[in-house]
Symmetry: C2
Subunit: 336 residues, 2 copies
């Protein structure tokens, strides 16, 4: 029993060199592809998530309405369902998994969309956090194909501060000697707990904690919230998988798309899609200022800042007000 | 050879119970005590710092002008000079060092000031970060004695988000199995490096990194900055000492001063000193909003927000503009 399909990519060449042998993308689709293939939405996954984490936005009557749209959710390389350190054969398993970029992810997704479904136009690419980065990458890699993108709580490139944040969680995870350079027989549990506790400070805003929203969510103490929500969020993830996704995240930059030679501004200026960017007001690692900068360089761009205190997790669907704000924005963009 | 003195406290009773046997405060003084003892400034240290880290504000012609003022810098318990896990005899050494509060620190400093120098009035208590917390604590513990306080990049109590930030650095440090529950024969170096890398994201703002100020400081890459500045900042600290200071920080709250029964607002309202609070605009763990809240409850209060992108480190003296802003504020307060 599985709730997803695999698209086999064969020996998949990588942007940074080398090949991912026997690569595959895991994906799930929702709704029906129209006869003229005009109703396609691509909705890539975020860091440490699978297609299931996207389903709050998908369904009849929801923003990504399956009575009208055909939604494809491809899983990020490294997330344990698509090719990952945990499911790749030696010699490229575990810590020897190669460096996979955002460009690689979108190239694989392009193959899925064209080879499997014969799709030539995409009405919308949307995604949250690393999913937003993939949406930007789609618009740069395939400007002729993508009509709209809605990056949510993300950016076209990983800022220096965001990279430092990622260095911190990476260092916390690997400080556990049980990590053993990625060849752990048993999971580095202390490292995974430290990873989760560091993440907890970044994933939500100062104001979320100041307002004690965790108490409204049913947690009597801060420690209950850390051990009841944050530690389980990462406890069952494979450490090498997390690190593979972090590598992709740290090196994300549409300017590194072939042809742009590191020029992020030129890559943004080449976008032909309508862009509706949805950063969260109090996001600590994808702050709205970054998206304001991005959109200054995109020809057809609109910014809507998600209000509230949920910080980065405003994009996750747990805050009803933020979820409604996002749904309205997606409907508006699809109607344009 | 030593550049500081010790004030011996004997067996020092602690707020949370128990006794710190053979306790001492390390301190240094600058300038001369006036005959009428009217020229006293107390300037407690910050987390993972000693009196030396305060000296940028002290000296002839500087904001804390030693041609006029007598400046006493007491070292925080746990910082390796005052009683600490690293210098306390068994059975209270290392991880068995007792829980020391801000109230305890100020009680010890009060004994130093009164027993050693016979001081009855203090013109100013100022401090940065945990030093700011001690300034607030002085104003609440000894309202009859303290004329002015200038808390810089700190707060009267540690907010829930700040506590989560501290949980993160604590978890990163102790994820290293070399920590060995505090009984390490050799330092937990991987844990200390992880601690530093996590701290790097919090100590400065997103905008500091976005603007690549680290390049202006002479670091070619982010990694150079992390390994050249942040790792050395903590590499030589004793892990148990860091954890003892973090415990003090996490539990800081003037509302827990005896007589206030946890009521932070009542404690703030009892302050008789003139308060000039100096949070930094982009401080990620002592954001200005926290000080705005504090000052709503203090009778004689002024807020000046330090501009710029240096975040928490705006209080550290490395940003010339922030340092000048702080110096002006301290001079203005002392003139009132």
């Amino acid at each position: 029993m599985t709730d997803h399909q695999l698209h086999h990519l064969g020996d998949f060449p990588l942007q940074r060199g080398g090949t991912l042998a026997g690569a595959h993308l895991a994906y799930r689709t929702y709704g029906e592809l129209a006869a003229d293939k005009s109703n396609v939405i691509v909705f890539p996954t975020w860091f440490a998530g699978t297609h299931e984490a996207n389903e709050w936005l998908i369904g009849e009557g929801r923003a990504l309405d399956t009575s009208r749209y055909f939604v494809i959710v491809p899983n990020l390389f490294g997330n344990g369902l698509s090719s990952s350190p945990s499911n790749t054969e030696p010699p490229h398993d575990r810590a020897r998994f190669p460096q996979v970029t955002m460009v690689d992810n979108v190239a694989a997704q392009h193959r899925l969309v064209t080879e499997q479904f014969g799709i030539e136009r995409i009405a919308l690419v949307t995604g949250v956090s690393m999913g937003a980065g993939q949406a930007y990458q789609w618009a740069v890699s395939h400007p002729e194909m993508v009509e709209r993108i809605a990056p949510i709580c993300g950016s076209s490139h990983t800022s220096p501060h965001n990279q430092v944040f990622l260095e911190g969680i990476r260092a916390a995870l690997t400080a556990d000697s049980a990590f053993a350079d990625g060849d752990y027989p048993d999971p580095p549990r202390a490292g995974l707990r430290a990873f989760a506790r560091v993440y907890a400070g970044w994933g939500l805003s100062q104001a979320f904690y100041w307002d004690r929203v965790y108490e409204q969510l049913g947690f009597a103490t801060l420690d209950d919230f850390l051990t009841g929500v944050w530690e389980p969020t990462f406890a069952d993830w494979d450490a090498n998988n997390l690190l593979a996704m972090i590598w992709t995240w740290q090196h994300a930059d549409v300017g590194r798309t072939p042809g742009f030679d590191g020029d992020t501004v030129a890559a943004l200026a080449a976008i032909r899609a309508k862009v509706l960017a949805l950063p969260s007001r109090k996001d600590l690692y994808f702050p709205p200022e970054d998206e304001e900068w991005n959109l200054r360089h995109v020809p057809d761009a609109e910014l809507r800042i998600i209000p509230g205190v949920w910080g980065h997790l405003a994009g996750g669907g747990s805050d009803p007000a933020a979820a409604a704000f996002i749904a309205t924005a997606l409907r508006d963009l699809l109607a344009r």
